[in-house]
């Protein structure tokens, strides 16, 4: 992400002019923009003109519009952000108060203006502007008949292709059916891999499966690439990493990220840190349940007693339409930081984030056990909130 101009007061109003450069940046912008913000960006508007005789003609006109956002829509596949809102600055062709939808894409300059920039926003902005962090990893998790080809960026896990095929089982005297089926399956996965993964950009490719599927697939992939005139160089081959996973479902990625081999290659990516923290939380759940709590009520009670060591919070909570909810969570984060607690903001586009989101989106590891918290029932309104967000 590029920044052109910035005039922000912490916890006060301000604006920033940015330009997204890649898919990842769009995700950051999606997390930055909220309903009520003001966005100024170039866009295309269909203008209908009516002559005095009553004939109409329509034209598409490029123009600069400033709108106050009413709804936000993110398309992770296309990497587009659709911002709908009312025009608030007088324009030659668009009336004040007229509705317009701006499509934000990479390589378009735009300005965001907020009445209040809180610490989460500023953090997100700085994160997006930091060029150092980008570890692009491709992963293929598969088992016989199912494969997921994913791209892992620091903030997102994008499923590029999902191959689901029925492979005939082995049957007395008809084993060739099974082998043919497997071959077809490998071919489909290889084709998807070649199409979606650019080995010149990707730094590491993880192939994970149970049994011998990964080796077989790797061999097939190499011959497939060779046959299609895209022979892997030795450098490229060195990027591959074969890991064990228990299945080919997307959630098996979590297992994959835990294995030491992968951990060494991906040290310090966000995804990895998240998985680590969540695992620690789950382990505590079984060993010392009085030190692991989730749900806003429990967590904030623990926070009042200065008990939080690590706070895990899903970024979907900060995208909340409700300003009050957002403020509540921002306050929680700030307060935990003040107490020298660690805060992980999970990206909801990762597998671990998906799980945290299910867990009310808010969980904490405590410094000391708080057994009396356990007796308190989890409140119903938390679930309602969650449903609202969904």
């Amino acid at each position: 992400m590029k920044q052109f101009k910035r005039q922000i007061e912490k916890d006060g109003p301000g604006f920033v002019t940015l330009m997204a450069e890649e898919a990842e940046d769009m995700w950051h912008i999606y997390n930055l923009i909220r309903v009520g913000d003001i966005v100024k960006a170039p866009t295309i508007r269909k203008v209908v003109t009516e002559t005095s005789t009553g004939t109409t003609s329509s034209q598409r006109v490029h123009t600069m519009l400033t709108i106050s956002i009413e709804s936000i829509d993110f398309d992770p596949g296309e990497q587009e952000l659709h911002l709908k809102g009312r025009n608030i600055v007088e324009n030659d062709i668009v009336k004040m108060g007229a509705y317009h939808t701006i499509d934000l894409e990479p390589n378009r300059k735009f300005t965001i203006e907020k009445t209040e920039w809180d610490c989460i926003d500023l953090e997100r902005l700085n994160l997006a502007l930091d060029p150092a962090q980008s570890a692009d990893v491709a992963a293929v998790v598969l088992h016989e008949g199912l494969a997921n080809v994913c791209l892992l960026t620091p903030a997102m896990t994008l499923t590029r292709a999902k191959i689901d095929m029925t492979i005939p089982r082995k049957r007395k005297g008809f084993t060739s059916q099974h082998e043919k089926g497997l071959e077809k399956f490998y071919e489909a996965v290889s084709a998807a891999f070649i199409r979606h993964v650019d080995l010149n950009i990707i730094k590491c490719v993880i192939i994970a499966s149970r049994g011998f599927v990964k080796e077989n697939f790797m061999n097939y992939l190499i011959t497939y690439a060779d046959a299609n005139g895209k022979k892997f160089t030795t450098d490229q081959k060195a990027k591959f990493l074969l890991v064990h996973s228990s299945s080919g479902f997307k959630h098996a990625l979590k297992e994959v990220l835990e294995t030491p081999q992968v951990a060494a290659r991906l040290a310090d990516t966000k995804a990895q840190a998240e998985v680590k923290a969540l695992n620690q939380f789950l382990e505590l759940m079984s060993t010392e349940p009085e030190r692991a709590f989730y749900g806003y009520n429990h967590v904030s009670r623990a926070n009042n007693d200065l008990a939080i060591e690590t706070l895990m919070i899903a970024d979907s909570l900060f995208r909340s339409q409700n300003i009050e909810t957002r403020k509540k969570f921002v306050k929680l984060v700030e307060s935990v930081r003040e107490q020298n607690g660690k805060v992980h903001i999970f990206s909801s586009m990762h597998v671990s984030g998906e799980q945290l989101a299910q867990l009310t989106g808010c969980a904490a590891i405590l410094r000391f056990p708080m057994p009396d918290l356990d007796d308190e029932p989890m409140s119903d309104d938390e679930e309602q909130q969650q449903n609202e967000q969904e």
């Binding site: 082995k170 049957r171 007395k172 959630h251």
Partner: protein
């Protein structure tokens, strides 16, 4: 109150009964003949409920068209009282009919007649509200399902009895990797002359050439090149043979932990099992204690409904047929099998798969053992009672060929019967088809009954994704299966490290399905023995707890409440290569 609310309530009490029998700490033998009186009682009760359902169906003429289902309340008090209330109500008004249905337990035609009568009333009255879950069933799909479930059930011809045919036993062979399952079964088949000596010689020769001469017998069952090359079974092999009094369908499961998913698919089709134990010193211990598959397999067997078990202690020739070793293994295992897993009476047999002792005939090598040999023990398994008169359910275990107008599949009939020219539907894709041919493992009979493994040829218009392993073939009518993606499940948590929390993802296994699912809600934890609620909305489920939870699968799946069809109601959850829980489907949400 809509019809479905009633169904839900009615079944609840019934399921509790069922649960007590199946999931109690003592795991009483529910499928056994010993409790047949109880069984039939329960059956009758189920019938009464059935009629009750039909009645309410008919008695609510002003149920709004396609009205959304009222939010199911989680209040237990309400649920438990509702059934009795409704039943009384039914008894008053519809006594005659209910009795008729209950009595017609054994005579299918009569029962169908009653059903039809009720149905005519039902269709005449109004459109009933369908279970309208929040799932994004497209309107089209919903309509389709509605039409199917409202189609009148075709009266079935009385079944021709199959008295001259031996009982069928589906037998699965399980055990830790390298316990010698395939070799044991391969040798057994060879001794029964299932494999001719020429082929066997060929195997022996080839195996010796690739430096694996001890694998020759396993090659009878391990047929793919990869399995032979690596020396492990990877997928379930299936062969059929006959003993003196039984037909046996043998399923040879893989033992490696990476292929447990295949083992589960095989086990879900089995009625009885042989657990093979490696008797070599040190090997039994690794397989049993240090995270081996012996325990997991045994628990899976039980939770998938297998009640009869033979333990074959293999490779005893390596310890000179030591009686002490056999007794040591027997003592260790029986405690686990009876107390923890809940098998009533596991039988232990010393064998050697490689040298072939005690397989088909008693051997002089083991003077201290005078029990039956393996084949005799297999012969003494009791065949399960088959729900032939139940609704049609064929679980697709393998798709052999998919063409645009025809497909060939193999599967097991879990209940009901099927014959040529039947009109069927494939769930969950809701594809209509006609049966062009069906044959079971014995011969090309015209009709296949519950329990059979069948090869079906269907005609219709198909797309590649119309059918998958785990699809279920059903008939239209009120007994049809409505695929869904949210279920209420009663489960027992296994020995796991990280507890199950809300939002945990796992793989869901049921009959031959494997899909990923999420625990979307932990409703309450319950007391294992009496079903009492221990805690509402627990934060997590630690090992050993029982609980009622809501799960949500990624796509529509064809499973249904345990009370409706036992084999379609058993579910197993796995995550990270371990089995984390097993249970039964209580309700479709």
């Amino acid at each position: 109150m809509s019809r479905h609310r009633n169904v839900r309530n009615m079944n609840y009490a019934d399921e509790i009964d069922d649960y007590d029998e199946d999931y109690d700490d003592d795991y009483s033998e529910d499928d056994d003949e010993g409790t047949s009186a109880q069984y039939s009682y329960k059956n009758r009760k189920a019938e009464t409920n059935l009629s009750a359902n039909y009645y309410t169906y008919a008695a609510e003429p002003d149920a709004p068209v396609g009205a959304p289902k009222p939010t199911p309340s989680t209040s237990i008090v309400r649920n438990s009282t509702a059934p009795s209330l409704t039943t009384n109500f039914v008894k008053e008004k519809e006594k005659v009919k209910a009795v008729a249905v209950a009595k017609s337990n054994n005579s299918t035609p009569k029962r169908n007649l009653t059903k039809n009568n009720l149905l005519v009333e039902a269709t005449a009255s109004q459109t009933p509200s369908r279970p309208n879950s929040e799932v994004d069933l497209s309107a089209f799909r919903r309509n389709q399902l509605q039409t199917i479930s409202r189609a009148p059930a075709q009266p079935r011809k009385p079944q021709k009895s199959r008295e001259n045919v031996k009982d069928l036993i589906n037998l699965i062979v399980v055990g830790h990797v390298d316990a010698g399952k395939s070799t044991l079964m391969g040798h057994l088949l060879y001794e029964m002359e299932f494999v001719d000596s020429r082929t066997m010689e060929k195997y022996k020769h080839e195996a010796a050439r690739s430096g694996k001469s001890s694998f020759a017998y396993a090659w009878v069952l391990d047929e793919t090149e990869e399995e032979r090359e690596r020396g492990v079974t990877m997928d379930v092999a299936r062969v059929s043979f006959e003993t003196d009094t039984k037909r046996i369908c043998l399923l040879d499961a893989p033992g490696h932990k990476d292929f447990i998913s295949n083992m589960i698919t095989g086990t879900s089709q089995a009625d009885a099992a042989i657990l093979v134990i490696n008797g070599t010193r040190g090997e039994f211990e690794t397989g049993f204690e240090n995270g081996g598959q012996t325990k997991e397999h045994a628990l899976l067997l039980r939770s998938l409904g297998v009640t009869q078990l033979i333990v074959a202690v293999n490779k005893l020739d390596t310890v000179d047929w030591s009686r002490d070793r056999f007794e040591e293994i027997k003592n260790n295992l029986s405690v686990f099998l009876t107390k923890q897993a809940g098998f009533a009476n596991p039988r232990f047999i010393p064998v050697s798969g490689l040298s072939g002792e005690n397989l088909t005939k008693k051997t002089t090598e083991i003077p201290w053992f005078n029990g039956p040999c393996l084949l005799e023990s297999i012969d003494s398994f009791v065949a399960a009672k088959l729900p032939i008169s139940g609704p049609l359910r064929i679980v697709v275990s393998d798709v052999l060929k998919v063409q645009s107008a025809q497909l060939i599949l193999s599967g097991k009939i879990e209940s009901g019967e099927i014959e040529k020219d039947d009109k069927v539907y494939i769930m969950p894709s809701v594809t209509a088809a006609t049966v062009k041919a069906c044959s079971n493992t014995i011969s090309n009979t015209e009709q296949c009954l519950a329990g059979d493994h069948v090869l079906l040829t269907l005609a219709g218009t198909f797309e590649p994704d119309s059918i998958q392993t785990g699809s279920v073939v059903v008939r239209a009518g009120p007994d049809t299966l409505i695929p869904a993606r949210r279920f209420l499940v009663r489960l027992v948590v296994f020995d796991i490290l990280t507890p199950i929390i809300k939002g945990s993802t796992a793989e869901l296994y049921a009959h031959s399905i494997c899909v990923s699912c999420t625990f979307s809600k932990l409703n309450h934890s319950i007391n294992k023995s009496n079903g009492e609620i221990l805690k509402l909305k627990p934060r997590f489920l630690a090992k050993g707890t029982s609980a009622i939870v809501e799960i949500e699968t990624d796509q529509d799946v064809a499973i249904e409440p345990f009370t409706k069809c036992r084999s379609l109601g058993r579910v197993t959850f796995r995550s990270g290569g371990k089995t984390i829980a097993a249970g039964i489907v209580e309700n479709v949400l």
